[in-house]
């Protein structure tokens, strides 16, 4: 199915003291007469049949807990985010799934959801998450600590809006300040993994991971016109992330992600209670909320409320 995206917006080009500078592609800048010029802009990205829905393409982004020497496709999937991108409107949504959510695992009874990657690889994990939110992902992307660090480094770092100062005595004892903070590859990894010192524990950690993902998208959106930026990003993804997509398909998706409007990104973390099952501490997820988030996001990549 062909998927199209369309946006038409107007931009007003302001002037300064009788001169306006207009950039032309790699040809330098050229002064022009002063004028207040209204410039119409048309944009769109066709992702072809990469999206199995009408306008929305869905990914499951997985951070594997694999340590050096371990197969990242057969260990626990500790960071789990179901992402929706609306290629028509430029909206995007992110549903964070706590890793200890106790759910049915295809072919393996019930267990913490992060174990699905261990039992059955990306497909099983995709199915387990898809069953929880009611929407099966089009693609599952898996990365590991070092690769994630490399990917963030390859785009020059990111900025996140941290709502509260916190530190994790094991992960990052020096702590993170509140407010807009700039993260490198290493500190982004620490920010995504830190849990101690967060009042909401793993739920807050998942929300921080959503902030990381939003920061990555914003960085891509802001720098998409820098020469080589998108291409280098795609190359980094090819080197640091497991996916079945061809480079040309990744290139298309990268441009679709770059076109997301950061102001149209919504995210929620599936909340839940705690229980001990089979001697293990688990989260009993709010499945009704998970399904509601999935229903909200499936058609327009927008979650109305958490």
């Amino acid at each position: 199915m062909t998927v199209v995206r369309r946006a038409l917006r107007s931009a007003v080009l302001a002037v300064i003291l009788g001169a306006a500078l207009v950039a032309v592609p790699d040809s330098g800048v050229h002064p022009m007469e002063s004028a207040l010029v209204k410039v119409e802009v048309a944009e769109g990205v066709d992702v072809g049949d990469l999206a199995h829905g009408e306008d929305v393409i869905t990914f499951l982004a997985v951070g594997s807990d694999a340590r050096p020497g371990e197969d990242m496709l057969r260990t626990r999937g500790d960071a789990l985010h179901m992402i929706f991108v609306n290629t028509k409107t430029g909206a995007a949504a992110d549903i964070g799934i706590p890793r200890d959510s106790y759910v049915p695992i295809p072919g393996a009874g019930s267990d913490r959801i992060n174990a699905a990657l261990y039992y059955g690889g990306p497909d099983a994990l995709g199915q387990a998450v898809g069953n929880l939110v009611g929407v099966q992902p089009d693609y599952v992307f898996v990365t590991r600590f070092l690769y994630f660090q490399h990917m963030v480094k390859s785009i020059g770092g990111i900025t996140v809006d941290n709502p509260r100062a916190f530190s994790d005595e094991y992960m990052w004892p020096q702590g993170f300040k509140a407010g807009k903070i700039r993260l490198s590859g290493l500190t982004a990894l620490k920010f995504a993994r830190a849990r101690k010192g967060l009042p909401g524990g793993d739920f807050d950690r998942s929300a921080n991971q959503s902030r990381i993902l939003a920061g990555i998208q914003r960085e891509i959106h802001e720098h998409q016109d820098d020469k080589g930026f998108i291409a280098k990003g795609v190359l980094s993804v090819m080197e640091n992330l497991h996916t079945d997509l061809a480079p040309s398909e990744l290139f298309r998706i990268a441009h679709a992600i770059a076109d997301v409007d950061p102001a149209k990104v919504t995210s929620c973390v599936v909340q839940g209670g705690f229980a001990t099952i089979g001697g293990a501490s688990v989260v009993t997820p709010d499945t009704a909320a998970a399904q509601r988030y999935g229903d909200d996001a499936r058609n327009d990549a927008t979650i109305k409320s958490c």
Partner: protein, 168 residues
Amino acid sequence: MRTKAKVIEITGDLSKNERQRVVKGVTRVVDGWWDAAYLSRADNPFPGFTPGAAKLARGDADIMTGRGLLDDADVAATRRRVTLDVLAAKKRAVGVTAGVLLVLEAGDDAKRYVVRGTVELERDKAEWRIFGYRISAGPEPAAPDRDKKNDNQDDEKNKARPSKEDKS
């Protein structure tokens, strides 16, 4: 008027021959769009677009063609530039983000219109196709000598540059 095209960035490895093929292939597609959409009244203003992108562009015809800009005036291109930012995998170009600039003069009073932005292309077998775009279009105050002066300056600059960039 011939389009000036050059590679400004390559991510990955490409041979010189492959680079030249990419430049020619992408330029052909961009030229096809410009000639059909702005310099003629072709039935299909978007040759070389994917079906989905063509559908999209038809909805943005006021910008993506000369329809909204130029009425029925005689139109000539005074500047045609394409820059290529190439993604290569296994020594083969798989994606291009092309910066585009088309300057048009229309009517007896030589009003100038500028079409600029980027188009994104992928290779489908041997042919390149446009799957995405971010294009602005609008009038620009006339400055008759600017193009000629700037083209000459760019040519001088390009002569001085090392041969990493490929020009056609």
